[in-house]
Amino acid sequence: MSVPQARGFLLLRRGGNLWGIANAAVDGLGRQGVDYRITIGGGGGDLRADEILGVVEELRVWPLAPVVSRFWPEPAAGLAVHGHEPVVMVDPGRLPAALSAEVATEGSGEGDRDDE
């Protein structure tokens, strides 16, 4: 698992789902059109989010169960719970397509203007 040991996780929402990423892996955060763009350090790429919920200091992360991997091909660093809602933990080295900035850019049209 490549979630760093550094404390703190950035929580974001995309497509109705809650996602988390180790704060130490995040290089930058900004608005882009109606979305948020999160830059992953080390050339890891960019993520898109509909909403940034903030940073939580502690989050218990469970490994991704084999049964989930069997039916969901996306990479993930594990699962967690925040406020009674499941959280998919993003592996900074393998970003999921659902959060990909590239996929969002292709389909988002005029709302994709960069406000930074």
Partner: protein, 152 residues
């Protein structure tokens, strides 16, 4: 929850112990090993995962832990029943005992606890579908939840 006439039959030492929980998934009745069943609850709020196959309904929270929820009807390829709302989630343990995982199975209903003799199970695939067995006049799919949790 009722105990069926099968479960109530005497084996000379009294009533036979229930071995499986019978649940309805679409037009099929499925028998889940009782030792793997943790709880039956009203359908949990499920958050679908983008790009997941139809068997995986999504993720839910149960007891403070994240829990994947699978659609049992789709897992066993059951034709949808007259009321495919899957109002019940059966929380089960899957995988080998030393590495078991918690999982939700969405079903139409939990029916009863029954006794399924090991010798009555026939024609399975040796994996998740252990086989079929007659229970109270109906053929039910007997499931092996340990196989469901294996990777690959």
């Amino acid at each position: 929850m009722n105990v069926s006439s099968e479960a109530g039959k005497s084996n000379g030492k009294g009533r036979l112990e229930g071995t499986h929980l019978l649940v309805r998934a679409g037009e099929y009745a499925c028998a889940l090993p009782l030792s793997s069943v943790r709880r039956v609850v009203r359908a949990l709020t499920v958050h679908p995962l983008p790009g997941a196959s139809a068997e995986l309904e999504g993720l839910a929270e149960f007891g403070g832990e994240p829990m994947p929820v699978l659609n049992l009807g789709r897992l066993v390829h059951a034709p949808a029943g007259p009321n495919p709302t899957y109002p019940v989630t059966v929380v089960v343990w899957v995988g080998p005992v030393e590495a078991r995982e918690m999982l939700g199975l969405s079903c139409d209903s939990a029916l009863e606890v029954v006794h399924v003799p090991a010798g009555s199970v026939v024609a399975g695939d040796g994996g998740f579908l252990l086989g079929e067995a007659p229970v109270a006049g109906e053929v039910v799919r007997v499931l092996n939840l340990e196989a469901l949790g294996r990777s690959g």
